[in-house]
Amino acid sequence: MKLLKGKWASITVPLLSVALGLLVGGIIMLVSGYNPIVAYAALFNGIFSNTYVLGETVRQMTPLILSGLAVAFAFRTGLFNIGVEGQLLVGWLASVYVGLQFEGLSPIVHIPLAIIAAALAGAIWAFVPGFLKAKYQVHEVITTIMMNYVALHVVNAIIRTYLLAPGERTDQINASASLQSPFLESITDFSRLHYGFVVAIIGAIIMWFLLWKTTTGYELRSVGFNKYASEYAGINVQRNIVLSMVISGAFAGIAGAMEGLGTYGYMTVMADFTGVGFDGIAVALLGANGALGVVLASALFGGLKIGALNMQSVAQVPTQLVEIVIAMIIFFVASSYLIHWISNRVSKRGKI
């Protein structure tokens, strides 16, 4: 139990949870008549065996990192941004829209412009719940969830009305805005790997720097921990709540740009949510809301999702099983935090 409490908790808890998650997954496979050893071998082969799957894993990780950063960032200020999904969708659309404009622009200008547009769109989308929370104490969980649905339908309506191309989608963006790279594709056996992972890593560094090295980060963390003491110290609590949501939304918007400028190069009319925004919650949780943790957790989830495809084709185990494993990992992480939280409460009682 000691290891689960001290300063190592943010490392031991996730590792143990992953092990337990895989164990429970194995038991379920056994019960349902699959051979877990064969299945897991296929899974791991499916992540590491060749450059193609590695490339796909990194591609899968890219938006996951950014949406994880979005959730983690808000959480550091004590806010639950469940609206990453919606912010991601508007970001995706904004990046594609800018990508469709400005023919003949240099990529050095066009790509950042499209990414900034995505960040802005996500930020605006997150501003609304942030403002409602700061001004009228409306709980952000409710408003961000509502904003997800608004985003889904608004984005679809805009595509249908203004940007529709054959196949229920937009046109392909101009090459000057694309993150796709024939070079990266060729060294990874023609996976869909694109330059977006560089953006994601820069995003992680920015989050770390902002939170731990700047006065803004100091304020955001302070508000997250104790808003009364922050107010006493002269920190503008309302402003920081809005700011935190806006920055979080910007990360989410950029996650959308990774799909729009990288993986796809267009946007389809969405029948349903992408799920990337919700996975961000799990990634943030497993990554203990830290920048490095989010990157590592994204690698795990991205890897598991890609490896699941191989597991299905080699061991005939349905990909849903990986969803179960992921769910179990989250379950174990969450319950260990719960245990941690309770034991913290109890020892707090002992303090004067």
Partner: protein, 509 residues
């Protein structure tokens, strides 16, 4: 001699610090046993070991002669050990009875039998003279009453060994008297008590024996009847403690704080500060004496910008600062040692270093162009920790891990160090040991001598009498009398605080 509790050679370590080193404590049946030690000496830690919240690295615990292994608070409960923590664990929206039975609910036909529980609670309350209303909601009762609910909780669970961790620090003088009566009653009913307090007077008054620890090491146990306050103090601190404050008469100059016709409403829109006039001059300490709840908190909150004033004005050095935002107020030269250190004073999850710059982090040299300069912040923290004797393993330690008194010292260090024109000190020495109190008082006087204005709010008349140059008595949101400490007595202050008019005419300015 049979002891109900015997803790032998207990050792408990935390990262970077040995909180308890070879401590022995023996509790006799039917005694009140005081536990005395400086801030951070390890008293709370030792009691948390006894209550099963911490596991000791070494040592044995015997309860009624049997060696036991107290792995968690449930085991402690079963052994008849109950603990009243200083920070209560009560559900605000629940009634007294519901709080008491929480986790231990009596059932009848599968349903929680609240009626029976309420009867039991009322019976225990009567037996020990607690006069608690079993059906009152926690949010509606006073801090003193809430503490009694905590006592009732332990009794309801059958505790006959009670641990009180600084119970009097949060109480008003009247409530302290009542608590002492309750403790005596408990003893007469066969209970045994371990009492942690920094107030030597209380130890002399109620306890039979006293165990002293210093920096984690047991110094010894004495019979209270055979000792005195001075001896206890020097046992605890390791040197002579000077109880009286060395200060010259004040030389007040121009008015620093000027409050006129101030009206401030509380959360329920009741004007709890109701037409107040008060002035504090540079170079003097004004003490506010009053019974809790007469508008003290709201007055401070209005001055510091944490609460809006309804009408009236607050002037600082002639400038109107009424309803300014907290940051502007701070920057215009007001420092504030808040009453509630956990709510306002500290971000408990920040390191001590980060807490030391809570109001100054955005200024040079602690940051530059929005980038924090951690090495200067930590250097600053180190020097404050040294100067104010804050006992902490390092400046990187989270504030949460410090002992209560040391958290308080950290706040005081931060606020005094900025040397504000007006320092508002609300219960600054709450939970501090006598040595630290002596030091803080001398610091307040030092600020005064530098020509700063100090506004002191305290429920302890002794502190008000000793430190202030002028005493303003607050009653129902107004200053009803201004007196000089050398021209009044605690008795007279007590009467004024209760709303009596002053006898000597013409003295109420």
């Amino acid at each position: 001699m049979e002891y109900v509790i015997e803790m032998r050679n207990i050792r408990k370590e935390f990262p970077g610090i040995v909180a308890n080193d070879n401590i022995t404590l023996q509790l006799r049946k039917g005694e009140i046993h005081a536990l005395l030690g400086e801030n951070g000496a390890g008293k709370s830690t030792l009691m948390n070991v006894l209550f099963g919240l911490y596991q000791p690295e070494k040592g044995e615990i015997h309860v009624r002669g049997n060696k036991v292994n107290i792995t968690d608070p449930n085991v402690a409960n079963e052994l008849g050990i109950g603990m009243v923590h200083q920070h209560f664990m009560l559900v605000e929206k629940f009634t007294v009875t519901e709080n008491i039975i929480l986790g231990n609910e009596p059932t009848a036909k599968g349903q929680v039998d609240v009626k029976k529980a309420a009867k039991d609670v009322a019976a225990i309350s009567k037996q020990y003279g607690l006069s608690v209303d079993p059906n009152a909601k926690i949010e509606d009762i006073s801090v003193g009453m809430q503490q009694r609910v905590e006592i009732l909780k332990t009794l309801y669970r059958g505790a006959d060994i009670l641990i009180f961790d600084e119970p009097t620090a949060v109480l008003t003088p009247q409530e302290i008297k009542e608590l002492i009566t309750i403790m005596k009653k408990l003893i007469s009913e066969g209970k045994s008590i371990i009492l942690i307090t920094h107030k030597l007077k209380e130890i002399m008054e109620v306890s039979d024996r006293c165990t002293v620890i210093r920096r984690g090491v047991g110094i010894g146990t004495v019979n209270v009847a055979e000792t005195n306050q001075d001896e206890l103090a020097s046992m605890m601190v390791g040197r002579e403690v000077n109880f009286s404050i060395q200060k010259t008469p004040s030389e007040p100059s121009n008015e620093t704080l000027e409050i006129s016709s101030l009206v401030v409403e509380d959360a329920r829109k009741v004007p709890v500060v109701n037409g107040m006039n008060l002035s504090v001059r540079a170079g003097e300490i004004v003490g506010i004496a009053g019974v809790d709840g007469n508008g003290q908190s709201e007055l401070i909150e209005a001055i510091t910008g944490l609460r809006k004033a309804k009408s009236g004005s607050i002037k600082l050095n002639g400038k109107d600062v009424t309803n300014w935002k907290p940051r502007r107020v701070t920057e215009s030269g007001i420092g504030h040692i808040p009453q509630d250190r956990h709510k306002h004073g500290l971000v408990l999850d920040f390191s001590i270093g980060e807490n030391m710059v809570l109001q100054t982090y955005y200024k040079r040299p602690f940051s530059r162009n929005g980038i924090l300069n951690f090495s200067t912040i930590m250097d600053k923290a180190k020097s404050l920790i040294k100067e104010y004797d804050v006992r902490t393993p390092s400046e990187m330690t989270p504030a949460r891990a410090l002992s209560g008194g040391n958290q308080q010292k950290a706040i005081i260090a931060r606020e005094i160090d900025r040397s504000p024109n007006l320092l508002i000190a609300a219960q600054p020495t709450r939970g501090l040991d006598v040595g630290a109190i002596e030091f803080i008082h001398s610091k307040l006087v030092e600020e005064r001598d530098k020509g700063k204005a100090v506004l002191l709010i305290s429920f302890e008349l002794e502190e008000i009498m000793n430190v202030s140059d002028r005493i303003a008595v607050i009653y129902e949101g107004k200053i009803v009398a201004i007196v000089k400490p050398e021209e009044t007595t605690e008795q007279e202050l007590g009467l004024l605080m209760a709303g009596a008019k002053r006898k000597k005419a013409g003295e109420t300015t």
